[in-house]
Point group: none
Chain length 414, copies 2
């Protein structure tokens, strides 16, 4: 049982876009006990679709394609499946109704060309698209299973989870099981954490442990196998516990949980409210926190005090303090946090002030220098971060925002 | 003349690592006038190497592989080339001397197994590796050219630039040049824009025009070829001008420029200042705007008024207005924008209030309903967006924020 993933689009073959779908799908398939042997990427040429689909169906028993299901002339997947399976395309009434309903819900007129998205190769099953217009395709052909998904990652992921996994299980393609568990850490660099985990990440260890980094969050990925999911899960358990014990409060959570979710859970549990006062992060601390559903129960609001006037007016930062110490200083970070806590009547408040760059740095206050403030009932503290100077502006802003949220998480957890 | 890129490694097919080499190589080849038609990724299985190399050499006149040149048992590229070209492997004296010299320079003992890295298929040319141990391979076989490079990106890039490009030119494979130009649009859906561009995106058009969407920004990619880069650029020009003329103020910019950069440029040009008042976007309007360097020249700040108290206290929104119309209403959006404009003493202010979901929706005010406010010297206007209800919270927040910034961009441009 080997799988092949085919991603479609000239923007990928030409190098203008990076294919992230194939990696995601390979990980998902691995967790279902299915090994991916090939990834193929093809451009928007019909002949290449047909030959690549044939090669894939010949060497893999499961072929998953992404892309080419849109309404435009570049979108050739449906047509190619018809040619490969030697069947005509026919309009699928249910898919058509779903497309019409989607446009109605969005109160937008439906372009006539979207009608082609309801076409389905004869003998295929349409996979409903709950978040976009393009239905997917599930088809048995030449002894293999061909599954075509949209290229838009958000649509592709929902369709894979809701429509494909149950069918793979039903068809007996997802056999045995792999259990993958991700534990996320924040607060130390990847090499520091790796140095503490050499025994875990050693080649050949069972269960296998991988380490990855994304926006300063370090993740351990534990992959265990077993006859059933329960068995695989059981095999992973001792390693999961070992990581928790070894890394303590560097652990922010499991799965997709990153720093904002961890802070939100902590606030909820402790029944505390929070407010923000942002300068160099420009709203990002708040924006990250408000990606968490239900956050309005404890997030009262924030002030982005980009100008010195705003710092005084909205956060009661004394003008003299800014003149004496400069806007980027522990004193101003402390005053911003205290001001936000008081003005929003919040239990705690976090603040940021720094040099995000690329301009504005000096020998004394280089790009990447950020001061965070944290105001709680117990008083105000500040922290200094040095995130530059070689990092781009967006990286400095993101790291500063995550460090601020993480500091609040640790304060709430105590 | 079509190229194929083959990346090698089970860590990529399994999804544990992301392949970034293929994209980089495709971009480099495009700039040399060579179109990449296929990317293939294979795992560390010898039979898959052989069959994939054969398929690639059959359908492409230039095949570039990355990975599998290391000293371990997983490294099978040299062996596979020998099998495909039906030639033995022989030790290359120069490569062997280079490996010995590298270990001596690093003052490290040389493991005996590194000797396999000096093996070269008979008839091939070794490509010197200035920054690592594995030499690359350049070989003509079956009418095509096969180039094998290391998988480590830093080694692969140096070798491509120093060893491969001169040989491609010498062999007459790198002919002419390609010029790629991206124009970004915002404010209409992909299918609406495509419907207005059928003549441009038609298959076979010269120069070629592709269309892609990323976070509601729609991009046209114009790819023109010519004998030189100047000629290719000239060939793209009429199409670039046509797109600008046809899509008018839907065009937000070229290359990487998205809505925030376009608004920033407009504010700079018009010498206007801006402030924000955010509810459902939770700081994201400001965070997007402040990713632009130098934004402090015209961005004064913002208030994230997540609670009703914050709306009244920081933005002077009358309590009665919220009680009568609800926080998600055009009346409150207008009052928030007007309040922010006045309190920050800004030339213009934008506001958002809506239901980001997944909870909190009702029949009257469903998930995805967002009201934007725009306050200028001329007065206050509001706009209603329907972005749901099936979209995830983050998508609704991102689209609402980009629509708000885009509305301000259009207002500034007038």
């Amino acid at each position: 049982m080997r799988a092949e993933i085919v991603s479609i689009g000239t923007e990928i073959t030409s190098g203008q876009a990076l294919d992230t779908n194939s990696r995601w799908l390979a990980q998902e398939l691995a967790s279902l006990g299915i090994a991916t042997a090939f990834h193929t990427t093809i451009s928007d040429e019909l002949a290449d679709h047909v030959s690549a689909f044939k090669i894939a169906l010949d060497r893999a028993s499961l072929v998953i394609t992404t892309g080419g299901l849109g309404p435009t002339q570049d979108d050739l997947t449906r047509e190619a499946i018809g040619l490969v399976a030697n069947v005509p395309l026919e309009e699928d009434a249910e898919s058509w109704a779903a497309i019409v309903a989607l446009f109605a819900r969005r109160s937008r007129p439906m372009p006539e060309r979207n009608r082609v998205q309801a076409l389905l190769p004869r003998g295929a099953t349409a996979l409903a698209n709950r978040v976009g217009t393009a239905p997917g395709v599930w088809m048995r052909t030449g002894g293999s299973t061909l599954v075509s998904l949209p290229g838009v990652p958000s649509e592709m992921k929902v369709m894979f989870h809701e429509q494909v996994i149950p069918r793979l299980r039903e068809a007996g393609l997802a056999r045995g099981a792999t259990y993958a568990h991700k534990i996320n850490l924040f607060g130390k660099g990847e090499s520091d954490i790796e140095a503490l985990a050499l025994d875990l990440t050693a080649r050949g260890r069972v269960p296998e442990v991988g380490i990855t980094a994304h926006e300063a969050t370090i993740s351990f990925r534990i992959t265990a196998t077993g006859a059933s999911e329960a068995e695989a899960r059981l095999a992973a358990q001792p390693t999961i516990e070992l990581i928790h014990a070894r890394f303590g409060d560097l652990v922010i959570g499991e799965g997709d949980r990153d720093v904002p979710e961890a802070l939100a859970m902590g606030l909820e549990r402790a029944n505390l409210s929070i407010a923000t006062a942002e300068s160099c992060t420009g709203g990002l601390i708040s924006a990250l926190l408000t990606t968490v559903p239900g956050v309005s129960r404890f997030f009262l609001g924030g002030v982005i005090s980009y100008s010195n006037e705003a710092k005084s007016k909205f956060l009661s930062v004394p003008r003299g303090l800014i003149e004496t110490h400069g806007a980027v200083s522990p004193e101003v970070a402390a005053a911003m946090a205290a001001g936000a806590r008081e003005r929003f009547a919040a239990d705690l408040a976090i603040s940021s002030t720094g040099v995000a760059g690329p301009g504005g740095g000096s020998a004394e206050k280089p790009v990447g220098l950020v001061y965070l403030g944290l105001a709680t009932r117990a008083g105000v503290q500040t922290r200094k971060l040095e995130l530059g100077p070689e990092q781009p502006r967006e990286v400095i802003q993101k790291r500063a925002a995550k460090h601020a949220l993480n500091w609040a998480r640790l304060a709430v957890g105590k």
